[in-house]
Amino acid sequence: MKVGVLDKADGSAYIEQGKNRILVAVYGPREAHPKHIALPHRAVLRCRYHMAPFSTPERKSPAPSRREQELSKVIREALEPAVLSEYYPRTTIDLFIEVLQSDGGTRCAGITGASLALADAGIPMRGLVAATAVGKIAGKIALDLSDTEDKQGEADMPVAIMPKSNVVTLIQMDGTLTHEEFEEGFDIAVKTCHTIHEQQKAVLKERYLAIKEEVEEKSETAKGEEEE
């Protein structure tokens, strides 16, 4: 996971998970275009999830598919609870998720990356959102299925959590799960999201910590030399 990878965007993140390669950019808060979508008391969050034509084994048409449109909606709804949009009335915050290479679980990686990009842009948030998918293969609950595993598996359940208040901002499922299997998978997903959350926090701080270390060390040695 990396943040600040794009120059023009206000915030950005790049995430590699298995064979997934996803780039996320945030522009905003910015003037609403078209003006009529602006809300008087808060910012409007817009999200576009899109897969590059070369991201899948067989070339995918660049036109947005129904799946991409549904995912754009659910991803937006996964992040909305985290954004303190009241700070910027009459603006939009635009989120762009580009899947450069896909291998299952892209919406989760996209949500995790989008949280990083939003935080990187300095947009005030209640907390970060982390996401992961659990599935069922050969009767057993498994974590983070790849594309082939998903196609052969019996269930796929993406979950997104805001660990700060331990709330669920996304949950979807397709396949077959008994009530018990659901509970087992859900608990594993929640725990995993907490782990991912620790990584997210570290990534957001790491460049600043690196600079801090670098210059404060130099200062120490420089001071030492001056004193000599």
Partner: protein, 228 residues
Amino acid sequence: MYVEKKQLVAPGEILAEGKYLSGENTHREGERIYSSRVGVVDLVGDRLGVIPLKGRYIPHVGDVVVGRIVDIAMSGWIVDIEAPYPALLPASETFGHRGPRGRMDLSRMFDVGDLVVSEVLAFDRTRDPLITAKGPGLGKITGGRIIELSPTKVPRLIGRKGSMISLIKKGTGANIVVGQNGIILVSGRSRDSENAAIHAIRMIEREAHTRGLTDRIQVMLRTKMRGE
């Protein structure tokens, strides 16, 4: 209190519980105060705040800002001040204005693309900022170099009671106009003096969150200007 002053925090991280006040870039949920952005913890008395490391400029009345004319309106100009809201500079808020002016006259005063130093007269959640170019130090920019800085670093550039910016001005002999919106105008007697000032600004941008910055800037300016 769970964190130390000057500690680096991420959105959603808990700062303190109990008798503290929720300051800038923090939010309160029940008894607990959390960070809303990536930044550095600041404590003034009982007030806990987070100094953000990145973010877009939000206008405040009284701010001096550097903007670019993007359009000519009925009785004034639309100015891009790098905020999520376009600013309006009414013709009545400039010198040399007498009675209603046509579009041709307005463009002779300030044309699209011109840069102007102005002050924010009015701004609230329901309307776009109103700026003025009447006043000492305000008006069209005719020379110098423009540097863009993240607006969150401007307070560090100015320093306590203007200490940092004075240090740079004295150390380089350059004239520096600092826009609160992160647009800085540098004009020096020589290329070297301008370059030294710009170098200082870039250093502050990179190291704003570290300790000992003032000393390092001092050292850097001394070495740079020694070449003169």
